[in-house]
Symmetry: C2
Subunit: 211 residues, 2 copies
């Protein structure tokens, strides 16, 4: 099957949205926790978090300012901090439900039945039920001229890991944590490790470290 | 376990790199195909592709200009086009091996045993063996001041899908295509769908469309 630009343009809107959202492959599933200076808490599922660098430790995400994500953007800009919490298999329904368009004065934590946790003098709420959690300091936000979405860049200030997830070499076993992957707009996937592979070099074939 | 900024700074470099690379959750696994105006072909695995918008249909990716990705960046800037090809389970070893630092005059297609395919008058090479493939037109590149990485934004001009992957509503079944997810720097994962979930609304609980 082949679609060119004209074919894509002629698709019904929702078909096109589902198709294009599927094409980047698997995405991370994270809950973004924020708290306005007014005290209002917010929680939103975001599938656009990506690794930006290890030194300094940075992560990026894309926010649509006119979507349900707008309160997240407003609060993290107001306070300069937010949390990133991995969605795992036991909290998929609650995590997905945060994407509903609740009124601004409703905390999605309460609405979907997840608990806030404040710790380490960090001002934004962590998700108590999550197993891999990051406290993020906002570095910059930038509106992308190409479509008006906002690139949010944050520095990792706190890493909270459930016991037993980090291996000796620093790798965190996100599969063991039950972290899920997303595809398209609404499909959640568990994973099964195919293997870890050695650092590749031109003079030897690809070799597994472990299955 | 808790790491703050000082704890992260005090970790051995490779431990820190493995840890931080694990924290964004699952990542997409894509092969980026380019061809210089000289005719030199290049193929590189990239784990940083992300959905940027459906209308216009845009995708972003982060390139490290001093890494093995540097030829990819050079060629896509030179020619204004590149391809994105999903890594599936049968080509993991070859895909991973493209991350080895081959000399500039070696095509990774040849080195790892994948085949180029040129079609639809598009100047960049597709991976013949891939099942989900995109022809991308470069829209902009931008060096991010925060760490010198480069944000590459492209428009989707061609979508090539193997038969039977697209559902009636436009969703592409990337799991059925065998598309893999990445975690950390070197771990590849197959997936098992937990479910597709209905568009969430405040006045009803989260409900699955299908398992």
């Amino acid at each position: 099957m082949h679609f060119n630009t004209q074919d894509l343009d002629s698709l019904p809107r929702q078909t096109r949205v589902n198709l294009i959202n599927s094409l980047s492959g698997f995405k991370s599933a994270n809950l973004i926790g924020t708290r306005a200076t007014s005290g209002q808490e917010n929680l939103a599922i975001v599938s656009s978090c990506f690794h930006l660098g290890a030194d300094p430790a940075l992560m990026g995400m894309i926010i649509r300012p006119h979507s349900v994500d707008r309160h997240t953007l407003e609060y993290l800009q107001e306070t300069g901090c937010y949390t990133i919490n991995h969605v795992h298999q036991d909290i998929i329904a609650a995590a997905h439900q945060t994407s509903a368009r609740y009124p601004q004065d409703v905390s999605e934590f309460d609405a979907v039945g997840l608990n806030t946790e404040y710790c380490h003098d960090f001002a934004a709420p962590f998700v108590h039920e999550a197993r891999i959690r990051l406290g993020m300091k906002l570095m910059e936000t930038q509106e992308l001229a190409v479509n008006g979405t906002v690139l949010v860049i944050g520095a990792i200030e706190h890493v909270l890991l459930a016991e037993g997830l980090m291996e000796d070499d620093g790798y965190v076993d996100v599969e063991q944590a039950g972290t899920v992957a997303l595809s398209g707009l609404d499909s959640y996937h568990l994973t099964r490790r195919e293997g870890r592979w050695q650092y590749a070099k031109p003079d030897r074939p690809a070799t597994k470290i472990s299955d």
